[in-house]
């Protein structure tokens, strides 16, 4: 059985093929000289009208104090709240009774970049970062240890602030 196609009849004055073709060609030709929207990525990482949001949640960064030690006090809140269970924390304690992380590792492959660790951290130590270039040659390299987290220099995320929902 033949397929029945519904055809909407247009007025004859609107059905010129050649004229439509020429119009289309004029349009495509005019586009040759228009401003290009391409961002030449490795050289350009942002344009006037496109920049990474300050709320971007990328790979983590551990902030350090004046002595260069991680601010983390190994309270255990971040592995507790982490929905992806990607933070490994083994707490230690020094002679003065200060807790510090013996092992602090984040598996960036497991991480879902929700930013809860940053929100929950009482010391403002762990942060998600405004950063997206994470290529590595080996899979193991995506488990960031404490030293590596402290060595990151990219800006940290501002996250979403309920009192300022539009980020102003």
């Amino acid at each position: 059985m033949a397929i029945t196609v519904k055809v909407l009849r247009r007025p004859v004055s609107e059905t010129s093929y050649l004229r439509a073709t020429l119009k289309g060609m004029a349009l495509t030709f005019s586009h040759i000289f228009r401003k290009k929207v391409t961002m030449q990525y490795p050289e350009e990482k942002g344009t006037d009208d496109w920049a990474l949001s300050s709320r971007w949640r990328g790979t983590h960064r551990m902030l350090t104090d004046e002595q260069g030690r991680a601010k983390c006090v190994a309270c255990g809140l971040c592995p507790q709240i982490c929905p992806a269970n990607c933070i490994k924390l083994v707490p230690g304690e020094d002679e003065q009774g200060n807790r510090y992380p013996l092992i602090y590792e984040i598996d960036e492959f497991r991480c879902v970049f929700c930013g809860y660790c940053q929100e929950v951290c009482p010391e403002e130590a762990i942060h998600v970062g405004v950063h997206y270039e994470n290529a590595e040659y080996e899979r193991d390299r995506f488990v960031y240890d404490l030293e590596r987290l402290c060595a990151q220099t990219h800006p940290v995320s501002t996250l979403w602030d309920p009192s300022d929902p539009k980020g102003e």
Binding site: V12, Y17, L18, G24, M25, H31, I32, V37, T38
Partner: protein, 389 residues
């Protein structure tokens, strides 16, 4: 004789390489132009302006795995890319691309083979290209490839007729099928370029040439939306590349043919300096550049149209070829033959600018009703209206 042989071999070598490099550059150019039309930049990383991109593509293609479908007809499968590739290059042999080059041993006409049957040779060879595509589709033993090959055969044979008919007008006016004579006859003035006395023939020829080279809007044999990749679905590696090279070589040849038949070949407009002996190297270079510019322009038109128009539906394609272009070419041929007979035999005019402009007026008189009336919903219509039973 020795001189003729050496000159021919050198010309063969030069033309082959120019076309191959040209094809590579056209793939780059096409990607750049398409990008510009879409407000992008296109490939600009490999080499200056991305000019080495084709080299990178070629290298990649050679390193790719060659796959053979288990049920394919192995020999035809290997042969098909060759069959589609060779005619594309053969056709260029008879196209004159510059003024004769004077050398110490004699004049070298800048055409690989100045065949007396020139144009007939082109018609004969260019229709061979379809075999490559049909065989590729058939030998793959793949339904999509077969459909692509089938469409290619139907389409190329249909438009071959309109193309041949449109060029009969050229042959009537020129009285010769040798391409170098056709070029020579167009050299007197820009109005002697056949595009003026035979404007409609040029129009039909262009449309048919687009269909012959399987380019958008007539690229139904590929039709990736419905046929995966059409006739070259099963091809990989350099064999796939051969089809692309064949397509672009066909484009070069068709563009060169448009330039030769309708735009004075290697003639430089607005000057008679390039038309006559004594020949010099400067004249040769200048005319070759003029030919290159004309051919390049038509290649640009090919690309321009490709990135503007959508693809025809199969029935639209057939309707346009058989119901519009063929009758149009026949009617046009009748009118133009009558006009030539009247002007030449009855009024005794010789072929000059006045003759050409009179024919141009005849063309315009035909074109206005054609483009204002026939174009309205009849050239390409929507699907045929059917009431459900």
């Amino acid at each position: 004789m020795t001189f003729f042989l050496i000159a021919s071999i050198v010309k063969l070598f030069v033309v082959f390489n120019v076309i191959m490099v040209g094809v590579a550059l056209i793939t780059w150019f096409e990607r750049r132009v398409c990008a510009w039309m879409q407000d992008r930049l296109g490939p600009n990383r490999v080499g200056p302006f991305g000019l080495l991109q084709p080299a990178a593509d070629g290298l990649k293609n050679m390193l790719k795995e060659e796959t053979y479908p288990a049920t394919a007809d192995r020999w035809l499968f290997i042969l098909a890319p060759v069959i589609s590739f060779v005619p594309a290059l053969l056709t260029f042999a008879v196209i004159p691309f510059g003024a004769p080059l004077p050398t110490k041993w004699g004049e070298v006409p800048l055409v690989v083979a100045d065949l007396p049957v020139g144009f007939l040779y082109i018609l004969a060879i260019s229709s061979l290209g379809v075999y490559g595509i049909v065989l590729a589709g058939w030998s793959s033993n793949n339904k999509y490839a077969l459909l692509g090959g089938l469409r290619a055969s139907a389409q190329m044979i249909s438009y071959e007729i309109a193309m041949g008919m449109s060029t009969v007008a050229v042959l009537l006016l020129m009285g010769n099928v040798t391409l170098s004579d056709i070029v020579a006859k167009q050299q007197g003035s820009i109005f002697l370029w056949n595009v003026f006395p035979l404007a409609l023939a040029y129009f039909i020829f262009t449309v048919a040439a687009f269909a012959e080279t399987n380019r958008v809007p007539f690229d139904l044999p590929e039709a990736e939306g419905e046929l995966v990749a059409g006739y070259h679905t099963e091809y990989s590696s350099m064999k796939f590349s051969m089809f692309i090279i064949a397509e672009y070589s066909n484009m070069v040849t068709a563009s060169a043919l448009m330039a030769t038949l309708f735009f004075g070949g290697w003639d430089i407009p607005f000057t008679a300096w390039d038309n006559a002996a004594p020949w010099s190297v400067l004249k040769t270079v200048a005319t070759a550049l003029a030919f290159l510019a004309k051919t390049g322009f038509f290649i640009f038109v090919y690309i321009w149209v490709r990135w503007t128009l959508p693809r025809f539906r199969y029935d639209q394609l057939m309707a346009l070829g058989w119901k519009v272009l063929l009758p149009l070419a026949l009617v046009y041929l009748t009118v133009i033959a009558t006009a030539i007979w009247y002007l030449h035999d009855q009024l005794g005019w010789i072929y000059d600018t006045r003759f050409a402009l009179t024919l141009f007026a005849v063309n315009m008189a035909l074109a206005i009703p054609l483009f204002l009336v026939l174009d309205r919903g009849r050239l390409v219509s929507g699907s045929v209206e059917r009431r459900s039973a």
